[in-house]
């Protein structure tokens, strides 16, 4: 089963609806950032990521 990324927050999961924000997910995504410590990450801050996890950099509908 292909992994999907949320069209809104870009969180990666296998679900049709994002487990974090309940938005639609898409199987068409690229790039990856794994945030392990959002409180100490400039990258996470730049991307408005506040929860640890795996996120796509780009999500197409």
């Amino acid at each position: 089963m292909a992994e999907r990324a949320c069209q809104r927050c870009k969180y990666i999961s296998y679900d049709k609806k994002c487990p974090i924000c309940d938005s639609e997910t898409s199987s068409d995504w690229s790039g990856l950032i794994v945030v392990t410590d959002p409180d100490n990450s400039k990258l996470a801050e730049e991307l408005n990521i506040t929860m640890p996890g795996r996120y796509a950099l780009k999500v197409n509908k």
Partner: protein
């Protein structure tokens, strides 16, 4: 600080995920791992400590080596928003 690491081509996302798992309960200073689609054979690591590749948590399959010297945040920014113009248009 931001560092580049060489990884086996095609394994960028896998190595990033494995590394994140491996460092989970370790004191490496790593806060994020970036695998941009357009950078074949490389991943980037954000850490508030100097990375020591002898640290056992940094030994994961297909992770080759640390690139000497650090990377500027501005150099990574271009990877974060592959379509900023479009987003701005949509949001009005």
């Amino acid at each position: 600080m931001f560092y580049a690491m060489r990884v086996l081509i095609g394994q960028e996302k896998n190595v990033a995920a494995l590394l994140a798992q491996s460092i989970k309960h370790e004191d490496t200073g790593i806060s994020a791992i970036l695998a941009p689609e357009s950078m074949q054979g490389y991943i980037f690591v954000e850490s508030d400590k100097m990375l020591d590749m002898r640290h056992p948590a940094l030994r994961v399959p297909n992770l080759r080596s640390l690139v000497e010297g650090d990377v500027e945040f501005d150099e990574l920014k271009s990877f974060l928003n592959p379509e900023p113009a479009m987003v701005n248009i949509i949001k009005g």
